[in-house]
Symmetry: C2
Subunit: 104 residues, 2 copies
């Protein structure tokens, strides 16, 4: 399968899950996973879910603007870069966001 | 050395070089390096330098806002995320930019 298509499908799945059921994001992380969120480093699926479910908003809707991916490492890993906007419940205008993934 | 300090030093060096002598960026890439630039994938130090020196501006000044890094892969690699602004010669206001590096 085309790596760009894999990256796009993953990203769409991730944010659809984020916007509908943040607890289920735990299934997309492992114990060795690390999330850096606004400078904080958070390790492991359980801690990452705790962080994402404690964000100070309930409703949110991510809109993806760009998805770029590159091969990474000898084991067929990928580096994925996403940018987009985030509409948070109760706020009148959208925030910009960007996020990257590596899976080596 | 602290990985965050290494990442910050690398990023400062990269953009100082970018702003003063783009050709010298070639020394920071290898033949296996890949740059994704606004959706284009460019492979190898020579091709990357050709791309960066052909951008439609001569003078530029990057200002770094955030540098985040995470360990990546079993071989001690890092994933680095940078955001900031870019002032281009002849333009009155700055552009936002973000860039990521992986070195597995």
């Amino acid at each position: 399968m085309d790596p760009d298509a894999v990256a796009k499908a993953f990203v769409e799945h991730y944010y659809r899950t984020f916007d509908s059921n943040r607890v289920a994001l735990g299934g997309l992380y492992q114990d060795a996973s690390m999330l850096t969120f606004e400078g904080d480093k958070i390790q492991g699926a359980a801690a990452i879910v705790a962080k994402l479910t404690s964000l100070p908003f309930q409703q949110c809707a991510h809109a993806i603007t760009t998805v770029d991916c590159q091969p990474s490492g000898p084991a067929g890993g990928m580096l994925v870069f996403v940018s987009g906007s985030l509409q948070v419940g109760g706020e009148s205008h959208a925030l910009k966001f960007s996020q990257i993934w590596g899976n080596d």
